[in-house]
Every structure is written in C-alpha cells, then in structure tokens.
Amino acid sequence: MKNGFKLDWLVLPMIGVVAVLVLWMITSSTISKELPSPGKTWESSKPYLQQPFEKRGEMDQGILRFTWYSLVLVAKGYAIALILGTPLGFMLGLSKVFTKAFDPIIQVLRPVSPLAWLPLGMVLFAGAKSGVSEMAALFTIAVCSMWPTVLNTAVGVRAVPQDFLNVAKVLKLSRTKTLFKVLIPATMPYMFTGFRLSLGIAWLVIVAAEMLTGRPGIGGFLWQEYNALVYEHIILCILTIGIVGFILDRLMSVVEKRFKVA
C-alpha cells in the first residue's frame, strides 16, 4: 500500500521527467544541433540559479530576481483585473438587460491574444510622460486575465439558490445587505474559481508583455537571451515560468478550496 503510494507520486513522475530529458538529449544531438543539450543548459544556467538574487546588470540578474520583477507586475495587473472584473461579473449576473447589452462584446473581446492588446496599450498610454511600457503591460494583463473572473462571477450570481434569495426577501434585507450578506458569500466559490483561472492567464500574458516592451523580468530576459543567441537561458526561463505558474495555481486552489467548504 505504502509502496504503491510512493510509486504514484514519486517514481512515476520521475520516469516522466527522465523520458523527457532523454528525448531532449536525442533531439539536441540529432535533428536540432542548435538546441542546447540538458548538460550544457545546466552548466550555463548555474550562475543564475546559484545566486538567484544577484544583480550584475539591467538584463543580467539572478533568476529569482527576474521572477520577482515579473511577479510584481503580474500582481498589479491581476489586481486591476479583479477590481474591474468582479463588479462587472456581478452586474452581468444580476441584470438581464446588462447581459444582453454587453455579453456579445465580451464574447468577442475574450479570445483576443495579449500580443494584439499590447500595441493598443502602447498607443493608449502614448501621451504619458513616463512608464508607458509598464502601463501598457498592466493594461494587457488586466484586459486578458479579467474574463474568467467576469464570467465565473456572473455564473455564480445566477446560480445563487432561490432559497437564499427568499430568506433575503422574508427578512426584507436592503439591497446593500442582500449583496453583502447573501449574494457575495453565496457567489464566493465561483468567484475564486474565476480568480484562479485569471491568475493563470495573467502569468501567461506576462511573458508576452515583457518580450514586447523589453522590461526586465523573466520574459524580457528570455527574449534578450534569444537575441543574444544564448539558447540555454531560453530553456532556463521556460522551466522557471512553468514552475512559478504551477506554484501559483496550487496556492490559488488552496484558497479556492477554503471557500468551497464554507
């Protein structure tokens, strides 16, 4: 029993990792000579991993330092997404008229790629004296990651059981009290599912945003190293982005679960 358990979470994932490493090794030594081998990648990444917070230059910093920059930018854009998306979701969930008016445009804007939004963001904030690229990046993150929050909140509001609304009616709760005592708590589980999905998208978008604006961060570093032909670091960045994204998702699902129970 205990052995089977270990097999599940330790041995089988290890087999997966080894399989991918072998495939990578074979690819780099046969069909794609430009692709650095796992060994070379490790050698070249060492300084970035061993001194993760080192700052040697604007675009030559430890990997966690870059990650930190990216996380800060994501946090800001994500906060904007939640602050705008949650009320928007509530309005969609509460008002049929509002839904009819805005749902079509939301469905059209939702699939637009961050690569398309970013130039628009640049244009939008072109008049600003400084920080144009940061504002454009934030705009892109917010506008792309907002939709899961908006849509899940709306679904959650529509799914509030009639029983709870009846309680609100019988107690004659005011509109504000109904919102804070009944609607928001009842929608919480849906909202947090939206929040988790939004965070995933925000983290996806950061790379594109940094690449196009050249800001220091994990995505900016990736793009710079591609241009500098240091391909090992592209792989280092990809792995870091993946791991950070995974951790963020786990953290959010812990939070999400807490609200599911309540």
Partner: protein, 305 residues
C-alpha cells in the same frame, strides 16, 4: 372578521401550452391563535400555497388578506420556516438568528438584540451550538435554528412548510413536542404544512386536506377536538383520533385522491416449454429448442395512488 383569509385563490405556472394550474379555488379562514394543519400529497402545491401567504408570490386571482390587509410582499409579521431550512451556510447559528432580529428590531440597542437572540437560541436548546455553522449541525438542529429564527421575529403568524419532513422518526417526535411546547407558550397563530396525518392530529386544532394536483383544492376542515395536552402514546387509542385519521385519509384517497391513470404496456411472455433433452444436440435436428416462441401481449394497468 377572520384573522387570515384566502378567498377564491387560483395559482398556476407557465403560459401557453406549458401552463400548469396548481391551485384552484382555495378558501381558508383562520382565527387568531388557531393552529391549522394542511395535509396533502407531495407536489400538490403546499409550498406554493404557503409562499402566497408569506407574500413571496402572488395569486393569479383571488385574495389573501391578513387583518383585512392584502398581502403583497413578505413581512416580519409572518415568520416562515422553509421546507429545506434555508439557513445561510456562511453564518453561525447565532449570526443567522441575529440577522433576523437586527432586521425586525432595528431600533433596539445592540445589547438588547444580542440578548433577544440568545433567548431564542436557548428556547430551542441550541446554546451549546451557538457558534457552529449549519453544515456542522444535524438536520434536527438546523430545523430548530430555522424555527428559532422565525420565532425571534415575533411574527403574528407562523408558517411551517413541512418542517419535520426530512427528519428521522425519533427526531421528528422530539421536535413535535418542542413545537407543541412553544405553541402552548405563546399561542401564536400557526399553519403547519405536513404530509403526516398523525403529526397534524397531534398538534393542530383543525386539519384541512389538500387534494392531489394538478388543480389542487382544500377539502373540508376536520376539527381535532381531542383535549390538550395530547399524549402521543395515549392518543393512539383515542376513538376520536381514529375517526379523524380515517376522515382525512378517506378524503385524500377518495374525493381528493389522484386521478386514476391507466398505462398500457407490452409484455413478453417467456418460453415456458422446456427443451427436449432426449433429442441430441445436433445441427441437423433443431427440435430440441422450445416449440412455443416468446409471445408478446398487451396489458392495461390502472395505477392507484
């Protein structure tokens, strides 16, 4: 002038071809302090009826008046205990009740509201569970919170929609005693919806059967003239109890019963003739298999209630 009056109330749902008439020509008069039980089939429209008295929905035609005033919306003068408790799961027992108290008595000092809340928690013996959330309570405890919430609003009339329907028999009996005790205490006007005739007889002054739907209507009132306090063990042997019980059940199975529906279905009679084992199993001699094939017949079955 009756305290609560329903006159010619009709109610249906849907429109066009999807229209369903649920309640037809409902007439009911209740005096202050009376305890009336309405007994009926599930799906007949009991919840629909009580929702109209609560003011959560309006009749299609006819009138519902309390103290001669038309009921148009919910109000704290009518305390309702919903069929499925309807406690807010994110609030504790105390908070669920306090929310109601705070709404109904906004001008009281906080200390008085708190004390009032505690009183009603104690009334249903839930003081040890005051800080628990509904998910941590048993069905019977949840129902008691729901009753305490309704009573804490000090309503003129208490509407109980199958309050004990989801509980096991023992918890049910305990809570029946509790409802009885509370009613004896402050003689509120009560409407109890139930599907249990015995429960109605034990608690009510008057039982009214609701006929089976669609287009359900109230049957004749049957007075429960058994002196109180009624003892659930002794009552079983009371001849009057048996009489009332029979009257209600006769109405529900007879005049107010379900319309009989007939269903025609196909039956397949199996091969009943045994194989002839003396014949050797052989491709050339198919006589071993039954002589009579499966037979298909039609049958019409009348469904009772």
């Amino acid at each position: 002038m009756p305290f609560l009056q329903l006159k010619g109330v009709n109610k249906g749902f849907g429109s066009g071809s999807g229209r369903m008439e649920i309640l037809r020509d409902i007439n009911l008069q209740m005096e202050k302090g009376e305890f009336v039980a309405i007994v009926g089939y599930s799906g007949a429209g009991k919840t629909t009826l009580i929702s109209m008295i609560a003011g959560l929905s309006r009749p299609d035609s006819g009138s519902v008046t309390l103290n001669d005033l038309e009921i148009t919306e919910p109000g704290p003068d009518r305390g309702i205990v919903f069929q499925n408790y309807s406690l807010l799961p994110w609030l504790t027992v105390y908070e669920n009740i306090y929310l109601a108290v705070d709404q109904v008595f906004p001008n009281w000092a906080p200390a008085k509201k708190q004390q009032h809340t505690e009183t009603y928690i104690a009334m249903v013996s839930l003081t040890p569970a005051r800080d628990k959330r509904p998910s941590e309570l048993s069905g019977g405890m949840r129902q008691r919170v729901s009753v305490a919430r309704a009573l804490s609003m000090n309503p003129q009339i208490l509407l109980l929609d199958e309050p004990l329907g989801a509980l096991d028999a023992l918890t049910r009996a305990t809570l029946q005693e509790e409802i009885n005790r509370i009613w004896q205490q402050d003689k509120k006007t009560v409407i109890l919806i139930t599907n249990d005739v015995d429960e109605g007889i034990l608690l009510a002054d008057r039982i009214i059967p609701l006929s089976a739907g669609p287009s359900a209507t109230l049957g004749p009132s049957i007075m429960v003239d058994i002196p109180r306090p009624r003892d659930r063990r002794a009552i079983n042997h009371d001849p009057r109890y048996k009489e009332i019980r029979r009257e209600v059940i006769d109405y529900l199975l007879g005049a107010g019963g379900r319309p009989k529906t007939a269903v025609t279905r196909k039956l397949m009679l199996p091969d009943i003739e045994p194989e002839d084992l003396s014949v050797p199993r052989n491709v050339l001699s198919p006589r071993r298999s039954p002589i009579r094939r499966s037979e298909i017949k039609k049958e019409t079955v009348e469904l009772g209630s």
